[in-house]
């Protein structure tokens, strides 16, 4: 093991190689690795962001759904209420209508009764007259006694 020029040759080679590595290898790889690291970090960050947004959207959608359900329930409630009202109104109307029909029928009946009474009265007057005629066997002046007979009839 004798030391010789190889020592110097290797020293020169060493510095040249180290210099080459420092200039043309290390920075390029380092930059690429840094860039990739940054890209990965960014990717992860944006994925997280997207996750957050998705969660937000989901909870928003849930809120909307709940609101919509509430609204629908409200509308149904209103509709039911309205339907009830309408049914009540219809019932009332029907009752009124029936009432009215009853009254009209009653009025007609009353009228009919009155008319019958009138007719009866007229006939009673005539009957009484003819009866009295028969009793008295004499002709009574219809003109003179009609007032009295009418009064009689009105008392019926």
């Amino acid at each position: 093991m004798n030391l010789n020029l190889t020592l110097i040759g290797q020293t020169a080679t060493f510095f040249i190689f180290v210099w080459f590595c420092m200039k043309f290898i290390w920075p390029l790889l380092k930059t690429a690795m840094h860039e990739r690291q940054a890209a990965i970090a960014q990717g992860l960050a944006s994925a997280e962001e997207a996750d957050k947004k998705l969660a937000e959207a989901r909870s928003g959608a849930e809120d909307e759904l709940i609101k919509a359900k509430e609204e629908a329930a409200q509308i149904i409630e209103q509709a039911r209420h309205r339907a009830n009202q309408m049914v009540e109104a219809a019932k009332d109307e029907a009752r009124e209508e029936g009432e009215r029909l009853k009254e009209a029928a009653q009025a007609e009946i009353d009228q009919e009764v009155n008319r019958a009474k009138e007719a009866l009265r007229a006939q009673v007057a005539a009957l009484a007259l003819s009866g009295a005629e028969k009793v008295l066997e004499s002709s009574i002046d219809a003109g003179r006694h009609s007032d009295m007979l009418d009064k009689l009839a009105a008392e019926l």
Partner: protein, 287 residues
């Protein structure tokens, strides 16, 4: 495998000899024909095999990582980019956890050291005879394929790191601050013993400082050299008949399994220690 013409000693020696280019004893330039001849060449010679494998493996690292870096996008990474980024992130995390200052050199240097040394160590797992025999077939007599078993290679890297330690120590603390750090610690210079304390401190701290590149370079060299040596010793058994052949094969396999750990760990230790030393060089706060 030891051929009939070689003794075991020759076989081992052959495996541990570098292909050295330098001035031969007769004055001409050429490849050394033996370990002695290589040793006699002195400093002005070069281990061609170590250099070639070291540069080649370094280029494999640079080309692989450059290919990944050139196509690197922030999008979905492909197979190569994935592998490269995994190694890079590993080293980057290490550097960031140990080195608290800002210096664009440290992490790329640690990456270069880690992958390069790992590749060099990995050559140890190629069966010891494959490449040397191939080389002999094309007329190259010596061929050591594991650069990190050559102290020139490991010490060169350790000394480079040491140079950077000195550079950043002086740059961050100033020459005076650096000397202060070396001499005012661990014994505070107070009272009449101040000069004495400073001398002791400096002696201690200077040894600590010098020990850094030595331990860094020799640890890697020692581990890999020993590992290679064991592979070579086990390979000798291949020439000793059927029983020894099978035993040697099994032991090669076991040792390779264990050595895989060393291959990785030594590369990691070199890179981590480099980061630690750099962090210490940048530390300006007083102890």
């Amino acid at each position: 495998m030891a051929s009939e013409a070689q003794t075991s000693a020759e076989y081992i020696r052959h495996h541990l000899t570098n292909l050295t280019y330098g001035q031969l004893p007769d004055g001409s330039w050429g490849f050394a024909h033996s370990a002695e001849e290589a040793g006699s060449m002195g400093f002005w010679s070069i281990n061609v095999d170590s250099m070639a494998w070291s540069v080649g493996l370094g280029l494999v690292f640079l080309i692989l990582f450059r290919a990944a870096a050139a196509k690197a996008t922030a999008g979905v990474p492909g197979g190569l980019q994935n592998a490269v980024e995994m190694v890079m992130e590993f080293i980057d995390d290490l550097a960031e956890s140990i080195f608290m200052h800002s210096n664009d050199l440290i992490a790329p240097m640690a990456l270069t050291i880690f992958v390069w040394v790992f590749f060099m160590n990995l050559m140890d797992l190629v069966p010891v005879d494959w490449i040397p025999l191939l080389a002999q077939a094309v007329g190259i007599h010596f061929m050591k394929v594991v650069p990190s078993t050559d102290p020139n290679i490991t010490m060169a890297m350790a000394l480079s790191v040491f140079g950077l330690i000195l550079y950043y120590s002086v740059k961050c603390k100033g020459a005076i601050g650096f000397l202060k750090e070396l001499s005012f610690h661990p014994f505070p210079p107070k009272g009449v013993f101040a000069p004495f304390a400073i001398v002791i401190n400096f002696a201690l701290e200077f040894v600590t400082l010098i020990a850094k590149p030595l331990s860094l370079g020799l640890r890697l060299f020692g581990n890999l050299y020993a590992g290679e040596m064991i592979f070579v010793l086990l390979a000798i058994m291949f020439g000793g008949g059927a029983v020894l052949f099978l035993a040697g094969s099994a032991m090669q396999w076991v040792w390779a399994m264990f050595h895989l750990l060393i291959v990785f760990l030594q590369a990691l230790i070199f890179a981590v220690l480099t980061i630690v030393y750099m962090a210490q060089a940048h530390d300006t706060e007083e102890h």
